[in-house]
C-alpha cells in the first residue's frame, strides 16, 4: 500500500463527501426524535414504528417488491435469450441492427421510454396497474441483463458445449447442464441489477402506474411534495439499505466468478 499524497486525500474526501453527505444526513435524521426534519431532538426509532403502521406505504412497498421480482425475472430470461442469439448466431441479416437496437434503450431518456409505453398501453386498452409497471420495467431492464450476460458469453468456450453434444447431450441438455451453470454468475448479477433498477425507478413507473397500484418511489415523491416527514426518511433509509445490499451482492458474485474464471484460464494456459 502506498500512502496517498495530500492532494489525492483531499480530492477523495471531497468526492465522497459530495456523493454521500446527503444520504448520511437522510439516514441520521431518520433516527430523529423530533417531528421537525431540521431539528435534532435525540435518537429514536419511532418513525420506523410509524412506518410499519402506515397502510398506504406498506401497500406501495408490497407493489414495488412484486413488480421488482416479476420484472427482473422476466427481464433476465428475455435478456439472456437475446444475449445468446446476439453472441452465438454468428452473422445473420441485420445482426448489427439488432445488437444496436437492444442497447438503444440504455441511452434512451427515461421520459421517452415511459411516454411511449404509456401510449402503447392506452393504444391497446390495457388498464394501468401492476401488470403495466411490470411490462415497462421488463422492457428497460432487459437491456441491462443482456449487456451483462453477453459480456460473459463472449469469453465462453464453445467447445464445452460441443463436448456435451459429443457425449450425447441434446442441445437443451447442453445448455441446461453446461452453459447455464457456467454463466450463472452473470445471469444472477443481471437479475440483481434489474431488481435494483426496478426498485428505484420513478420516471417510467409514474407513466405506467395507475390509481390501483403505486410504487414506493412514486409514493415518496408525492408525499415529499406535501413536506418532508421523518417517516419518509426512515423509508428511504430502508430502501438505501436494500439497494446497497443488492449492488454489493451483485458485484461480489461477479467478482468471485471473474477470479475463478481467471484461475481456470491460467490453468488452461499452463496446461497448453
Amino acid at each position: 500500500m502506498t500512502r496517498l499524497s495530500w492532494f489525492n486525500t483531499v480530492s477523495l474526501t471531497l468526492g465522497f463527501a459530495f456523493l454521500y453527505i446527503p444520504m448520511i444526513i437522510l439516514v441520521v435524521y431518520s433516527f430523529n426524535e423530533s417531528k421537525l426534519v431540521t431539528v435534532w431532538a435525540g435518537f429514536s426509532t419511532k418513525w420506523y414504528g410509524e412506518l410499519v403502521r402506515n397502510e398506504a406505504f406498506l401497500d406501495a412497498a408490497w407493489v414495488t417488491v412484486k413488480v421488482a421480482v416479476f420484472s427482473s425475472t422476466i427481464a433476465t430470461i428475455l435478456g439472456t435469450m437475446a444475449a445468446l442469439v446476439l453472441v452465438r448466431a454468428g452473422r445473420f441479416l441485420g445482426r448489427t441492427l439488432f445488437s444496436g437496437m437492444i442497447y438503444a434503450p440504455l441511452v434512451m431518456p427515461e421520459v421517452i421510454t415511459g411516454l411511449s409505453l404509456l401510449l402503447l398501453f392506452i393504444g391497446i386498452g390495457l388498464d394501468r396497474g401492476i401488470l403495466t409497471i411490470v411490462l415497462a420495467h421488463t422492457t428497460f431492464s432487459m437491456c441491462y441483463v443482456s449487456v451483462v450476460v453477453s459480456s460473459r458469453l463472449v469469453s465462453f468456450d464453445r467447445s464445452l458445449e460441443e463436448a456435451a453434444l459429443d457425449l450425447g447431450a441434446s442441445q437443451a441438455e447442453a445448455f441446461r447442464l453446461v452453459t447455464l451453470p457456467i454463466i450463472a454468475p452473470a445471469v444472477i448479477s443481471g437479475w440483481l441489477l434489474a431488481f435494483t433498477l426496478s426498485l428505484d425507478d420513478l420516471v417510467i413507473a409514474s407513466f405506467t402506474a395507475g390509481p390501483s397500484a403505486t410504487t414506493l418511489p412514486i409514493k415518496i415523491f408525492s408525499a415529499v411534495r406535501l413536506g418532508v416527514s421523518p417517516e419518509i426518511n426512515a423509508l428511504s433509509t430502508i430502501m438505501i439499505a436494500i439497494v446497497t445490499v443488492g449492488v454489493i451482492t451483485a458485484s461480489l458474485v461477479t467478482k468471485r466468478a471473474m477470479v475463478r474464471q481467471q484461475q481456470d484460464e491460467q490453468a488452461a494456459i499452463r496446461a497448453g
Binding site: 464445452l160 460441443e162 450425447g168 457456467i182 481456470d264
Partner: protein, 375 residues
C-alpha cells in the same frame, strides 16, 4: 497376435468403417482440407501426422459432426453421416483443448456421457471407477478441473471420451502433456483397450515416434492434403516423397541426376568431381532426371578404411558426434561441406569408441540402402 495379419487395407473386399470421398472443407476463402479421399477400417488405430495447421483437427471435427464438409461426402459404415447431429453419432472425441466442464468434478466429468444414456446407477459408478483406475485418477475424483495439473486434466479428458466405449474414438493429441513414462504406459493402455474392445481409433499427434508406436497405419498430411498413407514400417522404409522421408525420422537427402545403368539400377551424378553413387529403384527415372536419394543414418556404415566391397563410399571428416545413449550419430563433413549423418550402436563403452572429432573416416552404404525419390 492373431495368426492372420491385420491388414484390411490390402483386402479389396474389406468394407471401410470411415470413408472420406473427395472431401473439401473451406473456411471462407481458406481451404483447410483439399479434395481428400481416405478409407479407415474397423479396429484400426489410425494416426494423423502433420505440421501445425495442416487440417488434422478439422478432419476430426468433421467426423464428430461439428463441421460439415464443403464438398464431398463422409461415410460411416457405408452411411452418409452428414444429416446425423453430433449427439446421435456413435463417435466420441477427446478435444485438443480438453474442454472439461469447469463446474463439475472429475468424477462428474467422466460420468457425463454415461448419464445421458439410461445406464443403471450401479453400472455407471463401476464404469466411472474403472476409467478413474485406468487413468490413475482415483485420488482426484472429487476435484474440479482447475484443481488438478495439466497432465491430469489431459487424462480426465481421455477418460471422459473412453467412458462410453464408442465405436469410433477420436483423440486429438491425447498424450502431449504427459511425461515420457506415463505417455508410454498410456500408449500401451490405449492399444490394450483397442485390442479388448475393438474400437476404431483415430489419433492426432505431433510426435512421429508415438504415431509409429501405436498406429496400424499413419497418414502424413500437409496443407490439407494426404501426402502418404501407409503402415509405419512402409512409411519409414519407402517414403513416397522427400517431405515424408524428412518428416518421419532422421534422413540424409542427396540431390543428383539419375541415369539407368541396368535393370532398376541407376547411377547418380551428384556434383562435379564426385564419384557417382549407385542406387536401386523400382520406380523408373528417365536419363538425367533430377532425383533425391534418401538414406537413413543407421543404414550408413562408418569405417576408418575404405571398405572394398561397398556400392557407395565417400570420405569425410567427423564434424560432430551426437551421443544418444544407446546410439551415436556422427555428422561427417565431406570436402565440399555437405554433411552426412551416420548412426551406429554403442556396443562399446565411450572410452573405447573408435572415432572422435576431426578423424578422417569413410562412409559407405549399399545400393538398396536408400530410396530414390523424384520429389
Amino acid at each position: 497376435m492373431g495368426t492372420k495379419v491385420f491388414a484390411p487395407w490390402d483386402d479389396p473386399n474389406a468394407k471401410p468403417l470411415i470413408q472420406f470421398r473427395n472431401v473439401t472443407k473451406r473456411f471462407g476463402e481458406f481451404t483447410a482440407i483439399d479434395d481428400l479421399t481416405l478409407d479407415i477400417f474397423e479396429r484400426e488405430f489410425f494416426a494423423l501426422l502433420g505440421p501445425s495447421g495442416c487440417g488434422k483437427t478439422t478432419m476430426m471435427r468433421m467426423l464428430a459432426g461439428f463441421e460439415k464438409p464443403t464438398e464431398g461426402q463422409i461415410l460411416l459404415a457405408g452411411q452418409d453421416i452428414d444429416p446425423i447431429p453430433p449427439n446421435k453419432r456413435a463417435v466420441n472425441m477427446m478435444f485438443q483443448s480438453y474442454a472439461l466442464f469447469p463446474h463439475l468434478t472429475v468424477y462428474e466429468n467422466i460420468a457425463f456421457g454415461l448419464r445421458r444414456g439410461n445406464m443403471p446407477k450401479h453400472d455407471l459408478h463401476d464404469r466411472v471407477q474403472e476409467m478413474l483406475r485406468l487413468t490413475r485418477l482415483e485420488k482426484f475424483a472429487g476435484r474440479k478441473p482447475h484443481q488438478i495439473s495439466g497432465g491430469q486434466r489431459q487424462r480426465v479428458a481421455l477418460a471422459r471420451s473412453l467412458a462410453k466405449a464408442p465405436k469410433l474414438l477420436l483423440l486429438d493429441e491425447p498424450l502431449g502433456a504427459l511425461d515420457k513414462k506415463l505417455r508410454q504406459d498410456t500408449q500401451f493402455e490405449l492399444m490394450d483397450i483397442q485390442e479388448k474392445t475393438g474400437t476404431t481409433f483415430v489419433i492426432v499427434t505431433h510426435d512421429q515416434e508415438e504415431a509409429m508406436t501405436v498406429a496400424s497405419r499413419v497418414a502424413v498430411m500437409n496443407d490439407g492434403k494426404l501426402v502418404q498413407v501407409a503402415t509405419p514400417d512402409r512409411l519409414y522404409e519407402t517414403p513416397n516423397s522427400v517431405y515424408v522421408a524428412d518428416f518421419i525420422g532422421d534422413v540424409n537427402i542427396i540431390e543428383g541426376h539419375a541415369t539407368a545403368t541396368g535393370e532398376e539400377t541407376y547411377r547418380i551424378d551428384w556434383g562435379e568431381g564426385r564419384e557417382p553413387l549407385t542406387a536401386k529403384s523400382a520406380q523408373p527415372f528417365s536419363a538425367g532426371q533430377a532425383c533425391h536419394l534418401a538414406i537413413r543414418p543407421e543404414k550408413v556404415t562408418i569405417t576408418a578404411e575404405r571398405p572394398t566391397d561397398a556400392d557407395n563410399a565417400v570420405q569425410g571428416r567427423v564434424h560432430d558426434i551426437a551421443y544418444l545413449g544407446n546410439l551415436s550419430t556422427y555428422h561427417v563433413e565431406l570436402p565440399d561441406g555437405t554433411i552426412i549423418k551416420a548412426q551406429s550402436a554403442n556396443t562399446r563403452r565411450i572410452a573405447r569408441r573408435s572415432f572422435t572429432w576431426e578423424d578422417t573416416v569413410w562412409l559407405s552404404w549399399t545400393a538398396t540402402a536408400g530410396v530414390l525419390l523424384a520429389e
